[in-house]
């Protein structure tokens, strides 16, 4: 019943794709997954000065209604299992922003026994935002990069077939 990836690549369908991607990128509802200090910066990014809501990004508490999960803070091994469960419970299409050094690669606590070195060990990440913690402007740039990524997606248009190696 779904029309996704069914249409040939024509001017009309690509324009419709642009329109659909514009609507999707302009209302990315993120699930606040604040684990440590980066959570404070994420809260500030959602605050009045560096406003994430002007991009249409509203904070949600549950994975069921969110498009994006911003993993901000140190991921312990104990939490990594739950992160996987929560990521699985998000509906498609879903994206992940890994915010801060700890979520990118374990950061300062990489050698610790209880820390999971990077959230990409459990879930696939779309955008890595470096920093310890990243400034609100940096997280905003991460969201803009994600919006650029969403804009490039093919929604109605068929995905290109992989060209055979010569």
């Amino acid at each position: 019943m779904s029309l996704i990836n069914t249409a040939p690549e024509m001017a009309l369908t690509t324009k419709i794709d642009d329109f659909l991607n514009w609507t999707r990128k302009s209302s990315v509802w993120y699930m606040m997954f604040g684990l440590a200090c980066c959570a404070i910066e994420m809260m500030h990014t959602g605050g009045p000065r560096a406003d994430l809501d002007r991009f249409g990004a509203a904070p949600r508490a549950t994975p069921r209604v969110s498009d994006l999960i911003i993993v901000s803070g140190t991921l312990t091994l104990k939490m990594a299992l739950r992160t996987k469960v929560l990521y699985d419970q998000m509906p498609d299409p879903k994206y992940v922003i890994s915010m801060g050094s700890c979520a990118n690669c374990g950061g300062l606590f990489q050698l610790a026994y209880s820390v999971c070195d990077g959230v990409d060990k459990v879930i696939p990440v779309d955008v890595y935002v470096p920093g310890c913690p990243p400034r609100p402007e940096a997280l905003t740039e991460g969201l803009i990069k994600l919006q650029e990524k969403i804009q490039q997606e093919r929604w109605l248009v068929r995905k290109p077939t992989v060209a055979a190696n010569a």
Binding site: S2, I4, L81, R82, V85, L86, P91, W155
Partner: protein, 143 residues
């Protein structure tokens, strides 16, 4: 006059069409990837434990019931208030007042009953135990 109903019909149709359009577009344009992990019950990442259905305290029901009764009472008093001046002009003001006062008094008796019985208490207490239990069962009067 019947043409006015066409307005209502158009609104109905528009409502159905719009809802159908939005839901239908969603059906056509959304991905569908059900897999077991996605369909689990949400409990903040933990494996779900316990029943999803819990018992609610009965005080909510009691307050709602009392509210409905007195809300209907207000709904009956308001029309009386609107025509009260006309009744006074006709010289029957005292009669109307007595009638509505009797109505309110009957319902006030109900309010006093509910109050004394403790149904308006938000924090309910267990009944006080009366010292040591009786050696023999309490006497019951024959039916």
């Amino acid at each position: 006059m019947y043409f006015q109903f066409a307005n209502v019909l158009v609104f109905f149709l528009l409502a159905f069409v719009l809802c159908g359009l939005m839901l239908g577009l969603g059906l056509l344009l959304r991905p569908s990837n059900p897999h077991p992990g996605k369909l689990t019950t949400y409990e903040c990442g933990e494996p779900p434990s316990g029943n999803a259905w819990i018992n609610f305290n009965i005080r909510f029901y009691l307050i709602a019931l009392v509210f409905v009764i007195f809300e209907v009472e207000i709904a009956f008093i308001v029309p009386v208030a609107t025509v009260f001046r006309d009744w006074i002009a006709r010289g029957q003001g005292a009669f109307a007042l007595a009638e509505i006062a009797l109505f309110v008094a009957i319902l006030a008796v109900g309010l006093v009953y509910v109050w004394v019985k403790g149904d308006l208490e938000w924090l309910k207490r267990l009944p006080q135990s009366r010292g040591e239990p009786a050696a023999e069962p309490l006497r019951r009067d024959a039916a």
